[in-house]
Amino acid sequence: MKRVAVVGASLAGVRAAQELRAQGYDGGIVLIGEERHLPYDRPPLSKAFLAGTASPASLELLDAGDLASLALDFRLGVRATALEPSNRRVLLSDGGSVHADGVVIATGGRARTLPGFEGAFVLRTLDDAVALRAALVPGVRVVVVGAGFIGAEVASTCRSLGLDVVVVEALPAPLAPVLGPELAAVCARLHRDHGTDLRCGVAVAGMSEAGVHLADGSLIPADVVVTGVGMAPATDWLAGSGLPVGNGVHTDAGLATSLPAVVAVGDVARYHADGAGRRHEHWTNASEQAPVAVANLLAGRTTRTYEPSGYVWSDQYSGTLQLAGHPRPDDTLSFVDGDPASSSFVATFQRDGATVGVFALNNAKLFNRLRRQALRRPAAV
């Protein structure tokens, strides 16, 4: 293999490039990224960066030393528009193309938008964050649609800036499908304890200059509206490539696609294991998939399979939330330390007598010990 094209210059793409070098590949690596920025880290976009306490430079994933040692051929500000497997080529939006013996698909996803919410802010990219931050001037009233991780973090940061925030969520409790009812109640409490007006079970109809209109006809006045309603995998450019791309790029359990020498990593990868397709939208997943996908790419066949740790963190208000494993909302929750009313606790999810997940609020040490001891084997899902 003389040249590998990595499409998507964010976390998964960078980790793949690092792994190519770490695993001894010394050919060319072309890193193609639609954004004009050098690769940067997204989690701070809703936290310190939005709050104004982290600089753009602090987000960069690669420092000067990394850039020198990885010897990447960057194509930034250029979108891959097609993958032509028969010619081993990736076509680019600037009219050029890249010939490559191997391809790593790391195109992540784009923020979903809501019909009727044209003009609302979303938060996926650095440019999104710069635009939103500029709008968060003193005195604006903010409405956040969606109380998932990103919506909750945006609300939290806006409160830290002293702004009035209303969060509207269609579900009866935030994050209930992920965390179950008891921990969803904890998340709701974090909002309320910090002065955010959280309204659950609310359907939105659209927005206007006046604010956010609800399905029941009422209006929540707003100067700034942010939608945090998830993302859609960026697979449009793969049309015609022959790859199945429903809800992400389909791969085997080792992140290899049905095309030879093409693997997928990160938020865009929908891998199949135990008969089910799975996709994760979390930082650690993108990082952990890279060594597996790259090993299989270099081996030319699937020699390793991916076992997700299921690790996710989120910083909301005064709390660091940590989750590991693969719990379901109907698992039994038991509190190992503290209780749902305390500012620090650790709980485990039990199913059929086995621990399948660990959750902590502000208790990193015990969380990590339990995560290692109780989740030593990946839970059968």
Partner: protein, 106 residues
């Protein structure tokens, strides 16, 4: 030089955090070596003394950056900046960290 703890208070596989500016984490590896580094992860603000000790590496408890206790260098993202390391000295059953000004911490 600051007094960290007694050797008995720090069995192999354990760590202690010494409050101060900067806070320092002292580790006793399973192999019996003692290391001291800045306690605060250079990525965000986690206490590395709360991290997972594996050989002579510590994994940050928040986002799993690994630091080499011998050099302070991060070995993976998301940390990019090394932590400071400090020499450790044992005298008469007491662990001291060198190169830091400060009161006895114990």
């Amino acid at each position: 030089m600051i007094r960290a703890c007694t050797v008995d208070e720090l069995p192999p596989g354990e760590s202690v955090r010494i409050a101060g500016a900067p806070a320092i984490a002292v580790f006793h590896t399973e192999a019996g070596e003692l290391y001291a580094i800045d306690d605060t992860c250079t990525h965000q603000d986690a206490s590395l003394a709360d991290g997972w000790l594996e050989g002579c590496f510590v994994e940050c408890p928040l986002h799993a950056a690994m630091f080499d206790l011998r050099t302070g260098m991060p070995t993976c993202l998301p940390a990019k900046v090394p932590v400071r390391t400090y020499p450790v000295l044992v005298d008469d059953g007491v662990v001291y960290v060198q190169g830091v000004a400060g009161e006895d911490a114990a």
